[in-house]
């Protein structure tokens, strides 16, 4: 009896080549901007050139006069439809088109629909807007000053620029622990504002059919079902007449979760004109108006015992939220899962306070390759861990080893209530140290220092919570954060799988089929995967926060198991034995007492349509909604070696070693691709990628000449290693991996540069570690802050 070889059929653990590549490498992808509908018109958005101003007048007459212009939409017109404002995913409101004031540079003021985009742009240029400029606020310190101008004067009862306050932990217990500490380490830092910046910008094609009342929107959304619900609420359209389609997406990284004014405007314009309206955002529009990330100010402390144990932690975080609070995150958590900080360390008690401030900057606060503010949390964690080791005069690797949660402590309850459930933290750390040759490097570094060379090594270890999340705690606008899968097995044993997630490059079409293959023994090549069309896909919360594999992936397993359960009945019928006498091995049921007598899953599928037992429903299809019992907790250890040129402050990366324990790996090739991608983001963040503002609120970083992303030339090579600790509660033991390197990586780079400067007394340089900041730190021996405004 030949058994089905799981790797041979592209099951779990196979580095199967990607199915989706077939179209992408031929230039046959189907991105939103590639779609052309008959009679389609084009929309361009006019944006505010200033950060804070009262709108005195908008004159659109010249735009209307241009041949080919079909519609000029202003906030006033949107207001007539009750659409000048819209709710955000964080229970705030956001202007669709400004009516009273503009509150950030790049805010949407009007839009023009024309026969072609060139004419639409001509129309935008012809609109005359008169602004009365107001002082701009570009950081929380300015925003929270007592005499600060009120940004959100539209909100009833809002008297200051505080967006929210939030607190978690045991203050009294933490204070007591600090009182008995041998040493206290304090660190303040700013995680700069950044932008996920997928290469593809946002866009939509709204097609309202006046005859049927049906609205179809093709759009760049990581979460089409949330969008459908939001559109139903915002535009007051019946949900069954709304179809959202996310075609291929040219990268998301969290940027394509929120609802943006451009989408809403294209919908409104299509309704007003009764024609399809396409909006394709340009890069500067994308960078200055859509979901930013980070922009958090930390000030925190660790209470330390002489022997290196951490007794307690506390920190305060101020977040620059921009003009509208439109973070896309679980509604209950105003500052995401920032309280997952320090979860990998055994620290008995802690206390966190947080505050959000409105400023004259773009809204967003998206989970940029990150599980809701976790990147900021882990960065602060690993930076203060490094500082504490230095304060204690302890080797930073040893300091971590002393404090990391031990394998025998799982499940481990953190002081903020999270339950981490599995891991081999020390093993990962040791593997990383070994791989990079830690002890030898320390010697090399000392020798190099004698010759005037500055080498440094940085370590970052962290666990992060992925896969939000269980319905007890996680919802967005009241909708619980489950996910779903629907599987239909056809008579010949081929299948179609649909999920509520939406790939943006993660390779779902490849890996979901591998899970089905693992569960049912159907070759992965026989399973087609579809996502992104709300008319056909089951309801799901979409792909962000590394939730695809932990939640939707689990649903794929569960629906496959439902199919298997029904197939077992069919097998028993075919084998003429009772169900209890049927055994399963991959791809095949057999009679327990006569293993040679068996039927394949494909034979069962045929029977489901042609030879079912009496009383059994025909067909072989099902769906599963998966409500995860817990978050998943991957662990990672990143090590970076750099050399700093003390004369210019330029630093080069000499080595990067990554050890990732993301649980069971479905497709190792894809997993490694996610890790190298994440490490590149980490490098970029630490080295060059940030968005800042001048005192007038002008965005510095509104295009790729100022907002720098690394090329193949600068990006270092990466050495990858793995440890596998299966997730105890996930059906196939997977934990998710898309974000770990981007979350844990930045601190490794920064710690490495600061290690190279360890004799200077410098404790912190804010990211990005631009050459001038490093040079300033070396020459002055002082910390360098990166808080805006930048001097110009």
């Amino acid at each position: 009896m030949t058994r089905v070889d799981e790797i041979g059929i592209g099951g779990l653990g196979a580095s199967r080549r990607r199915v989706e590549d077939a179209r992408f490498i031929r230039g046959c992808g189907n991105y939103t901007d590639d779609i052309k509908l008959p009679g389609m018109l084009h929309m361009e958005v006019l944006r505010s050139p200033v950060a804070h101003a009262r709108i005195k007048s908008i004159d659109t007459s010249a735009a209307w006069a241009i041949p080919g212009v079909r519609l000029v939409l202003t906030g006033e017109m949107a207001a007539q439809r009750n659409l000048a404002w819209m709710p955000t995913l964080s229970y705030d409101t956001q202007a669709v088109l400004a009516t009273d004031k503009v509150r950030f540079q790049g805010q949407e003021v009007a839009c023009v629909v024309a026969d072609d985009p060139y004419t639409a742009k001509d129309g935008c240029e012809a609109i005359v807007v008169e602004y009365e400029q107001l002082p701009a606020i570009v950081n929380p310190t300015q925003a929270l000053a007592p005499d600060a101008p009120l940004i959100r004067d539209d909100k009833e009862g809002q008297t200051d620029n505080v967006c929210y306050r939030w607190e978690v932990g045991d203050k009294a217990g933490t204070d007591r622990a600090f009182a008995r500490a041998d040493k206290v380490t304090r660190l303040k830092l700013h995680y700069p504002r950044s932008h996920p910046s997928p290469i593809e910008c946002c866009g939509s094609i709204a097609n309202y059919d006046p005859a049927t009342g049906k609205l179809t929107v093709y759009m760049t959304s990581q979460a089409p079902h949330i969008i459908r619900a939001a559109v139903a609420l915002v535009a007051e359209l019946p949900e069954h007449l709304i179809r959202i389609v996310s075609p291929d997406i040219g990268g998301g990284f969290g940027n394509k979760v929120p609802v943006y004014p451009g989408y809403v405007c294209s919908i409104l314009c299509s309704i007003l004109l009764g024609k399809p309206v396409k909006w394709t955002e340009d890069k500067s529009g994308n960078l200055i108006s859509t979901g930013f990330a980070r922009d958090m100010y930390f000030d925190g402390e660790l209470a330390l015992r002489e022997d290196g144990r951490i007794l307690a932690l506390r920190f305060h975080a101020d977040t620059d939220q921009g003009a509208f609070f439109s973070d896309a995150q679980p509604s209950k958590f105003k500052i995401g899962l920032v309280h997952s900080a320090f979860a990998c360390y055994d620290i008995p008690v802690g206390h966190i306070t947080a505050r959000g401030a409105y400023t004259n900057k773009a809204p967003g606060g998206v989970a940029y390759r990150c599980s809701f503010r976790v990147t900021e949390a882990m960065f602060f964690q690993e930076r203060i861990i490094a500082a504490a080791a230095a304060d204690l005069g302890m080797d930073p690797a040893e300091f971590r080893r002393v404090n990391l949660v031990r394998d025998d402590q799982f499940p481990y309850r953190t002081p903020f209530g999270f339950l981490t459930d599995s891991g081999q933290y020390r093993r990962c750390l040791d593997l990383g140290l070994d791989a990079i040759g830690y002890e030898d490097f320390l010697k090399d570094k000392e020798e190099a220092r004698l010759r005037g060379r500055r080498l440094g090594i940085g370590i970052s270890t962290m666990t992060e919570p992925l896969g939000a999340g269980n319905s007890r705690e996680y919802d967005i606008l009241g909708i619980k954060m489950f996910d779903s899968a629907e599987l239909r097995v056809h008579p010949t044993g081929k299948a179609i799988l649909r999920t509520g997630a939406k790939s943006q490059g993660q390779g779902h079409e490849t890996t979901w089929a591998q899970i089905v293959s693992h569960e049912l023994g159907i070759p992965a090549a026989d399973v087609v995967v579809e996502e992104g069309d709300t008319d056909t896909a089951p309801f799901g919360m979409g792909t962000y926060a590394s939730r695809s594999t932990p939640v939707a992936g689990a649903a794929v397993s569960m629906v496959s198991r439902k199919i298997r359960a029904k197939a077992r009945k069919l097998a028993a019928h075919l084998l003429e034995v009772s169900e209890e006498d049927v055994e399963w091995e991959l791809g095949r049921f057999f009679v327990r007492s006569a293993p040679n007598r068996g039927v394949t899953i494909q034979e069962c599928a045929m029977a489901a349509y042609g030879n079912m037992p009496d009383g059994l429903e025909p067909g072989l299809e099902n769906n599963a909604y998966y409500d995860p019992p817990n978050l998943t907790w991957p662990f990672a250890c990143y090590l970076v070696i750099v050399e700093v040129d003390p004369e210019t402050g330029v630093w080069d990366v000499l080595r990067v070693v990554a050890v990732d324990d993301c649980g069971v790996r479905i497709n190792p090739m894809i997993v490694e691709g996610q890790i190298t991608g994440g490490l590149t983001e980490a490098y970029a963040m630490s080295n060059m990628q940030f968005m800042t503002f001048d005192a007038e609120g002008n965005c510095v970083g509104s295009n790729y000449l100022d907002y720098l992303l690394p090329t193949a030339w600068e990006t270092p090579g990466f050495e990858l290693h793995e440890v596998v600790t299966p997730c105890p509660h996930h059906p196939i033991g997977a934990k998710g991996v898309g974000e770990c390197a981007a979350v844990g990586g930045p601190a490794a780079f920064v710690n490495a540069v600061l290690d190279a400067l360890s004799d200077t007394g410098v404790r912190n340089i804010d990211m990005p570690l631009l050459p001038d900041r490093v040079w300033e730190a070396i020459t002055t021996g002082r910390d360098v802050s990166g808080a805006p405004p930048v001097k110009t």
């Binding site: 080549r17 990607r18 989706e20 590549d21 077939a22 179209r23 992408f24 490498i25 031929r26 230039g27 046959c28 992808g29 991105y31 901007d33 590639d34 052309k36 072609d116 060139y118 910046s197 997928p198 290469i199 593809e200 910008c201 291929d248 997406i249 040219g250 990268g251 998301g252 990284f253 340009d282 890069k283 500067s284 943006q504 490059g505 993660q506 390779g507 090739m669 894809i670 490694e672 691709g673 190298t676 991608g677 994440g678 490490l679 590149t680 983001e681 295009n703 790729y704 000449l705 992303l709 090329t711 193949a712 030339w713 990006t715 090579g717 990466f718």
Partner: protein
């Protein structure tokens, strides 16, 4: 009054079109000729997603007017596949997982092609240098570099070294 007639050879086929001089080559390819494999990713000639070959040389098609291509040969990603057979560069990207979202991929492959036509045996460093006008946000470039080296090996005449 604003329109003009141009003839451009695109992937070996002469295409006559009438267009305004202000139309960018990238827009002509995508909108006018329906070749949407060429993507547009920025406004500042930075990202290289729109890279095509004009007379064999890699060009950012967002930074060339379509009228300027009059009488010239343009090759786009759609022209890589010959008689439904993949070009080794395409195969390399699939084999080495050189793409994720796929948006930068056409431009990246066209730059790679231009490199390999000039330098059939590039080192890793030369590949990284040649691709430094193309941005990718997903892969971290490591696998893209491998993909190009894979293609170089495949394109080498038999007997001068196989695929890795």
């Amino acid at each position: 009054m604003f329109k003009r007639q141009v003839t451009i050879t695109v992937n070996g086929e002469a295409r006559a079109v009438e267009l305004e001089p202000r139309v960018l080559l990238a827009h002509l390819l995508r909108e006018g000729l329906g070749l949407t494999g060429t993507h547009i990713g920025c406004d500042t000639t930075s990202c290289g997603a729109c890279t095509v070959l004009v007379d064999g040389s890699a060009v950012k098609s967002c930074t060339m007017l379509a009228v300027q291509a009059d009488g010239h040969e343009v090759r786009t990603v759609e022209g890589l596949t010959r008689a439904s057979e993949l070009h080794p560069v395409q195969e390399g990207f699939q084999e080495e997982h050189g793409l994720q979202c796929g948006f930068c991929t056409p431009g990246m492959m066209m730059s790679a092609l231009a490199l390999l036509e000039r330098n059939p045996e590039p080192t890793e460093e030369e590949v990284r240098w040649a691709l430094s006008g193309n941005l990718c946000r997903c892969t971290g470039y490591q696998n893209i570099v491998k993909a190009v080296l894979w293609a170089a090996a495949k394109l080498r005449p038999a007997g001068t070294g196989g695929v890795r």
